[in-house]
């Protein structure tokens, strides 16, 4: 057995960790800002390349013409549309849960189809990481439900891993019976609450 990845934390390490976390945040923000800048400069380069590719006489016909406002707007709109499409995809991805039977963590056939779809999206968007949240209905005891929620999250993770999504991109968290989707006390609500939720992060 290898427990080398499991080191006890002491207080100084905790402090260091939180410092590291802070700097990581700063770094992430910087990288994000840089990537935005990079993106816009790429777009500009693209424009220049396009111009260079145009026949010489066209360039001569309008040597000092600035890039047309119209084309620029088109490009911005296209970009916006792309972003909106991505956001819609993320919303669709995150809003589709999978469901379980009482006291069970086995995937149902319908859940496999949902996970296949998610795997496809994850393959197409390798920059995204996935957090799988396992939930239970309110019946039963708190600690067992925590364990059951973890098993449910792990079941989805195992499936995604088997169809080629790297385990490094995925993590699990169990909420047990702590975060019901529907607080009502009936079978319809319980069925909605026995679920895995899927959260994306870059």
């Amino acid at each position: 057995m290898d427990y080398s990845d499991y080191e006890p934390l002491n207080v100084t390490e905790e402090v260091e960790k939180s410092m590291i976390r802070k700097w990581m945040m700063v770094l992430v923000v910087c990288v994000f800002a840089a990537s935005l800048l990079g993106f816009s400069s790429c777009a500009k380069k693209q424009v220049k390349a396009d111009e260079a590719a145009k026949p010489a006489e066209v360039r001569q016909a309008a040597p000092a013409a600035p890039p047309s406002d119209d084309a620029d707007r088109q490009r911005r709109l296209a970009e916006l549309e792309k972003q909106q499409k991505l956001q819609a995809e993320i919303r669709a991805f995150e809003s589709e849960n999978i469901f379980f039977d009482f006291d069970k963590s086995e995937l149902k056939p319908a859940s496999r189809a949902v996970l296949e779809k998610k795997a496809g999206w994850l393959r197409a968007n390798p920059q995204y990481k996935l957090r799988i949240e396992g939930h239970c209905d309110e019946r039963g005891t708190v600690e067992y439900n925590l364990a059951l929620g973890e098993r449910r999250a792990k079941a989805a993770m195992k499936y995604l891993s088997a169809v080629g999504i790297s385990a490094d991109r995925m993590s699990t968290v169990s909420y047990g019976e702590e975060r019901p989707a529907d607080p009502a006390k009936n079978e319809a609500a319980w069925a909605k609450n026995r679920r895995d939720e899927f959260k994306l992060a870059r």
Partner: protein, 447 residues
């Protein structure tokens, strides 16, 4: 009869009780106890107890300027509630009292016939004196049938700690009449939702004096009191996923001790208080590990596919009960660590979880046989299964009192979940928390 001065009782407790006895609050014997009073009035090991009728009239105010007149009824009500919750006494209705208690000049004079005619077994007469914040209570306990005084003592304390003082009086009466230590000074830790979030609280065993212990504004779960009473381990989502933390009660310091990816479930204290058994994610499974108080893994305790959680140690620490779903449904198993053997002990119903192993070697757990969830007890070999709650909503998460004679649990019998205590045989079920929100996951402190 169980000898409570067993080696199980920690040194810490001995020191603590010695300090308690000698220091801070002095207790004066007014009279040497009558030799006859050494007789055991209550056999607490009997399967069911005939409750003794005890009369506790209002306490007399001996304070010079009559300060704190409200204590005349407040002090006896704390004692009356203790004795009632103990299950050994039936406090009598004051309206039945014939003797004009206000008219009597002294505590020594007692018209025994006035008490025996209304069926009184025992009588507590007491008076109090306040000087500033100091409070002195003089208590006399009479056996009405034999017309004898069994106890005469003065207790010193503070007005603002009057409940603690009265719990000491209650413990004294329990010790005198049963020969066993009372648990009225013990406490309970639990999860409360009063703030809108799940936070850890502590309160006296009777649900009073509640204090909020965490303010993480997220989900805190499964608090467990250490056997020495100095720490509480609990789970919290404050760092994003369920991890295990340790709170030192004296310093208030909180340390994170298990933060493995996935689930770090509830901790269970080893009897020596030096390590914990913890269910956590390991590969694809959830297994139980023994960790020290810095979080270092000392030993893997289970190695089986599926769920293995909710360990609870036997009093001698050689075995533990836990929950596993290896049979397809959650059931209680016992692991003998020396023999490395695991045995299933629950076979009825398809949902048996939350085991708690008592000092008297009974295992309480939460089971579901006919829809609702109820509290059961069973011997560690699976024999003598007994259902303690019945037909009153869901009853979950039992935890034993330090003497193994009471169980605290959560129940939704009155709507939301609140805490209740009952005798080990299920008699005398009483609600103890009346705070805002819901209260769940109780864990009883040591003595």
């Amino acid at each position: 009869m169980m000898n409570l001065r067993s080696p199980l009782i920690s040194k810490t407790w001995k020191t603590f009780s010695a300090v308690l006895l000698v220091g801070l609050i002095a207790v004066f014997h007014l009279f040497r106890a009558d030799p006859a009073s050494a007789r055991i009035y209550i056999d607490i090991n009997a399967p069911s107890v005939q409750r003794l009728k005890i009369a506790i009239p209002d306490f007399k105010n001996f304070s010079e300027r009559g300060e704190n007149p409200d204590l005349a009824t407040r002090l006896p009500s704390v004692l009356s509630n203790d004795l009632d919750l103990s299950g050994f006494f039936a406090p009598m209705d004051k309206s039945a009292f014939l003797a004009d208690t206000q008219g009597q000049a002294s505590l020594e004079e007692t018209r025994f016939r006035d008490w025996s005619v209304i069926g009184t077994d025992l009588l507590v007469k007491a008076g109090y004196t306040c000087i500033g914040q100091s409070l002195e209570v003089e208590v006399r306990l009479y056996d009405i049938l034999s017309a004898r005084q069994l106890l005469g003592k003065r207790f010193l304390g503070r007005v603002d700690e009057q409940r603690t003082l009265m719990h000491r009086v209650g413990n004294e009466i329990i010790y005198l009449l049963t020969g066993n230590k009372g648990m009225f000074l013990s406490k309970i830790t639990f999860v409360g939702t009063g703030t809108g979030n799940k936070e850890i609280y502590i309160a006296d065993y009777d649900g009073q004096n509640e204090k909020q212990l965490t303010s993480d504004k997220t989900i805190a779960l499964l608090p467990r009191w250490s056997p020495q009473g100095d720490m509480i381990c609990f789970n919290s989502y404050k760092d994003g996923s369920p991890m295990l933390y340790l709170k030192e009660l004296l310093s208030g310091k909180v340390r994170r001790i298990s933060d493995r990816q996935g689930l770090n479930a509830g901790g269970s204290w080893a009897p020596d208080g030096k390590s914990l058994a913890l269910g956590m994610t390991h590969g694809d499974n959830l297994d139980i590990f023994n960790i020290d108080l810095t979080g270092k893994i000392l030993k893997r305790l289970t190695n089986h596919s599926g769920i293995n959680v909710s360990a609870t140690y036997s009093p001698d620490g050689s075995r533990f009960a836990f929950v596993s779903n290896r049979s397809g449904t959650p059931q209680i198993y016992i692991k003998d660590m020396a023999e490395d053997r695991e045995e299933r002990i629950t076979f009825q119903g398809n949902y048996n979880t939350s085991p708690s192993w008592s000092r008297l070697n009974r295992i309480a757990f939460c089971g579901s046989y006919e829809g609702n969830f109820d509290i059961f007890t069973v011997d560690p070999d699976g024999r003598n299964l007994r259902k303690l709650t019945d037909g009153q909503g869901d009853n979950e998460e039992p935890s034993w009192s330090p003497d193994g004679r009471y169980i605290v649990f959560s129940s939704n019998r009155e709507g939301g979940y609140h805490l209740y205590i009952m005798n080990a045989n299920g008699q005398n079920q009483r609600r103890i928390t009346f705070m805002k929100g819901q209260q769940t996951s109780p864990s009883w402190s040591p003595f």
